[in-house]
Symmetry: C2
Subunit: 453 residues, 2 copies
């Protein structure tokens, strides 16, 4: 098997580069054709690798690529999930090379989606090819690759609800997370949920001259800033009433266990060019971005933002705000609490509209399952060291949805690194990591099938 | 004289429309050629009206149009100031007709610059023509029309300092303000000054994934909002240390006098579609936008502002902030106090840069001067009612500069209305007001010359 992987390494990489050249930005309608072309690309590669029943399953949004290989209905079935859409690439000017013209530099593939999730998703397509070509596929496999993960997987749940039979499996396998390091592999055992909203504050019914009206009418930007500022107190706790009601507090033991994961605060600050970190009082950096909920403004705009100076009081100001959730908060609960609170703190001098965008539920995956153990053994064999279980701050809302709709746990075999800059300019993915994934995944299938015997 | 004005009314208006078609936006470099074309247009019209020594005087920025008519060195000289540049027209989509394709509707000329200041400046060019054609110019006149008023008149002071002889005069005449109403003419006797700055807050050195980093690093948008919010206290007083130190408090008598000016708060709120006004505790709306200093965010931007949702913690967030000043604050003093304070309130987790844009000094003009009395008589004759002296919230920084550099007071004969929506979409100027200006200005010259005898 490893010989076959070595012999085909260059082709595997080139195929990934071809897919990375297609700008499949699901958030921006102007890339619609490219997103669909990417779905067709994935489907074609699954067919070539030997998958049956390959199809682009229509949804209200972008299609879901399905394919399977049922070698024996009596054997366990692995359902592979991934996504072929990517985050917007702006700000373009901060990329050292164009986001959709992949280049390999210092052993890293630079392109939007290189890691999240085209690179990691494609490891599974190639691992499947490896098992097929070497006749070592030990169980059944189904692929479900969607194109709307970066915009909230809005149509996936409908698809899953409507295709429970087609998607029946024993475990879900996902590579859309990271590891602590190439010398410290880790497996993600927890994910944060999310509530994402957009707010609009309206002051006067038209833009006004800041001299003639300044001081006498509500400036929607000033007001929006005050409202946003009030959402955190001086200890950086979130002030939305009831926000923490359902937050699962970890025991001192659990926190001590977490604290054992290697982490160097000075390195962390240096890598981000920060003089200091910033977060909720009473929690470590690792805790703040994994077991604690957050509230971040992801975008804000209003008034004159062009060159030079314009003395205007704008009519409207806007912000995109997202909250990361932890067990046992729910997206619906937090979205409602935010809406209610945000409207309630608006002064009479402005009008406020709060539009929910999308949400997802937090999850914690079991470490005592056969699937987790199989994954752990696979990593240990290819990396030479036992992987550490870690809770990630990211969100893969569909993991909770799979549990509720299909009753299946997911095992999160991520091969990315913090330094991959996903969602940022100069996103990249190590060739080492890409190839390690292709080596490790077939071992997961082997051990998972064995342990199920 | 009035016969001549009536006979030429249509031509006067069409000439103004021609000038309004040239998009002379000084804030945006892409309109550079149009700004210069507008200067040439004004120069040509001054020549045609009979001015001597007409020239485009070069500056480090846009040229200043000069022209004069010296009929007798022993007679007093009026120096007319105005500006041919306009504010940016965005947001374009809110205009009912394109900002640079003027239309006349319900007796109003709709276009960017219709009132501020092309329309009001051109009244003086035509009033000059009227006096020349009817041989009734009673004193000397000089014109100084600049093209950088909307970006802070950055090069005017240098020009004035370098041409004190050329600009020697007895009074400065400006129409760049408004009246209370067509049935309540008023003359502006006070103007607010301004400090305009741009701030940049930097958190991490690159955009980050809000899941992996959310809660652990400073989000520059959240921080910028907190910093901006902290600039006002719960009484809407500005919190910058020493901000009010030099503010001239009006006596109860002066405030009572001001309160006599006709003002209908319900009408005011209705016109702006506001449920409530908003401003500094302890002051009326009229006081808040005239005798009190302000701090307004004129623009804010950062993070993802496109379609859909992006879960990012941006590296940077920005805001344009301006403060309106009253006697005896100075722009230099307030700009320095803002810079010092804003940097001081930044948490260690971010970097802050504060860039001063431009400023101007507040002024109060005397009402007991010959010039004011002459203007008052002129209005009374054309409007049939004595004009009210009012202090405006706007800024014409150069009025203070003229006083300090040339030792001259200005008389502010404004003919605009609040409803003209200057600096807003659908800026307009009444044909009635444009023509009233052309009738009233020659009367000012007449009385000013008489009273100087």
């Amino acid at each position: 098997m490893n010989q076959y992987i070595a012999d085909n390494k260059d082709r595997f990489i080139n195929e990934l580069l071809d897919m990375l050249r297609i700008p499949s930005v699901s958030a921006d309608p102007k890339f619609k054709q490219d997103v669909i072309r990417t779905a067709e690309f994935v489907a074609e590669k699954l067919r070539q690798a030997g998958a049956d029943n390959v199809a682009l399953c229509e949804t209200a949004g972008y299609p879901i690529v399905y394919g399977d290989k049922i070698i024996d209905p009596s054997l366990p079935t692995v359902l592979v999930y991934g996504h072929y859409d990517v985050q917007p690439a702006d700000p373009y000017e901060l990329w050292h090379s164009p986001p959709f013209e992949p280049v390999i530099k210092d052993g890293k593939i630079y392109a939007r989606g290189a890691c999240d999730d085209k690179g990691q998703m494609y490891m599974h397509v190639k691992a499947f090819e490896v098992m097929m070509e070497n006749n070592i596929l030990p169980c059944n496999v189904k692929f479900m690759i969607e194109g709307e993960e970066e915009v909230g997987s809005e149509n996936l749940a409908t698809f899953v609800k409507g295709n429970k039979e087609k998607l029946s499996a024993d475990v879900i396998l996902i590579s859309d997370t990271g590891m602590l390091g190439n010398d410290t592999p880790s497996i993600t055992t927890g994910l944060r949920g999310m509530s994402y909203l957009e707010v609009e504050v309206t002051g006067p019914n038209r833009d006004l001259h800041s001299g003639l009206y300044g001081g006498a009418v509500a400036n929607p930007i000033n007001i929006l800033c005050q409202m946003i500022a009030s959402l955190h107190d001086e200890h950086n706790h979130i002030t939305i009433p009831g926000f923490y009601d359902n937050v699962q507090e970890l025991s001192q033991e659990e926190r001590a266990e977490m604290a054992r994961a290697p982490f160097d605060l000075e390195k962390y600050k240096k890598a981000l060019d920060l003089s200091d970190v910033h977060g909720e009082e009473g929690y470590s950096t690792m805790e703040r971005n994994s077991i604690r909920p957050t509230l971040d403004v992801n975008g804000i705009w209003g008034g004159y933002t062009g060159e030079g100076a314009k003395t205007v009081i704008p009519s409207k100001a806007f912000a995109k705000i997202s909250m990361r959730l932890v067990p046992n908060q729910t997206s619906a609960e937090i979205t409602e609490k935010f809406q209610k609170h945000f409207v309630s703190i608006a002064p009479k001098s402005v009008k406020v509209v709060v539009k929910p965008h999308h949400g997802g539920e937090p999850v914690v995956t079991p470490t005592d399952s056969i699937a987790y153990q199989a994954a752990s053994r696979a990593y240990e064999e290819t990396f030479g060291v036992k992987p550490v279980p870690v809770r990630s701050g990211g969100s893969i809302p569909i993991v909770a949805m799979f549990k509720s709709e299909l009753g299946l746990d997911s095992v999160l075999m991520g091969f990315g690194l913090d330094s991959d800059a996903i969602h940022s300019p100069n996103e990249n993915f190590g060739v080492f990591n890409f190839m390690k994934g292709i080596e490790t995944i077939p071992l997961f299938y082997r051990y998972y099938a064995e342990m199920n015997k």
